[in-house]
Symmetry: C2
Subunit: 136 residues, 2 copies
DNA sequence: GTAATTGCAAATAATTTGCTGGGTG
DNA sequence: CACCCAGCAAATTATTTGCAATTAC
């Protein structure tokens, strides 16, 4: 059914970068990192592989709060926090509440596969920066 | 502080369209509807007003599951369901669980303002279509 | 060997912006 | 009557795609 997929050195490097990243990078950031290892890798290849890896369930694509997608090397569903000041994305370490899916299935009848939740607010670093500024 | 904002007939029409929409339309759909009332309205004006209305809290901008934004004339936070087959977006009528925000505030220390949740799966119409097809 | 994948560059899609004239408060 | 906002078109940004050469299996 699904097309055969080959493990190229480009794909391997991209996956490795995402797994080792402690942030939720954009395609462009992944591209810059990948160039350090494969100098003539192209941005198109990065985008193509990010899509392949997302479709095969190896990574997550996130598109909250910005005009571009961010990627997450941890494919297991988890919650995120978006800082409205510095626009960073953080992992939130509370368990995914799967009971919600069942609740929605009961009220709508839909086949609910999963859900995603993003929290919005101000992160600790930005809170500190704001309260030390004279503008408060 | 924030700039004065004027009520133009364009802005009024755009807001009215969104409030009466029973779907979660794209900027382009809003533009097509608005043209029926103000034939020479421009797409740029639609985008500008959607941003103004979003910033002033009159509408919500949603960007889940697609490459373009959708807009919601109901500015109160509520959950959504995205059908992975037909790509429609539905409102989910379960109450927003604000206790989650407090939980995240306690585990992270962040100032959590709110959260958004989207459910993913297959809607009823698509379920019916799938089970009646010979491909199941 | 052959089909998937690459690099490159051009194409697309969605949204934003500069400018000048018009309409709101 | 000042200044925000409209229309128009060109610019920007993020992402996708066509093609010939390359490479994994």
């Amino acid at each position: 059914m699904s097309k055969a997929t080959r493990m190229t050195k480009q794909k391997k490097v991209i996956l490795e970068i995402l797994r080792n990243a402690d942030c939720h990078p954009s395609a462009d950031w992944v591209y810059e990192q990948a160039r350090k290892i494969i100098p003539d890798i192209s941005l198109g290849t990065v985008y193509r592989n990010l899509n392949v890896l997302r479709d095969s369930g190896h990574i997550l694509e996130l598109n909250y709060g910005s005009t571009y997608s961010r990627y997450d090397g941890n494919p297991e569903n988890h919650y995120h926090f978006y800082c409205e000041k510095c626009h960073q994305l953080f992992n939130v370490k509370i368990p995914v509440y799967e009971g919600l899916d069942k609740m929605v299935k009961e009220t709508t009848g839909f086949d609910v596969r999963n859900h995603r939740t993003e929290f919005y607010g101000i992160c600790n670093e930005c809170k500190a920066r704001l309260s030390s500024s004279s503008l408060m």
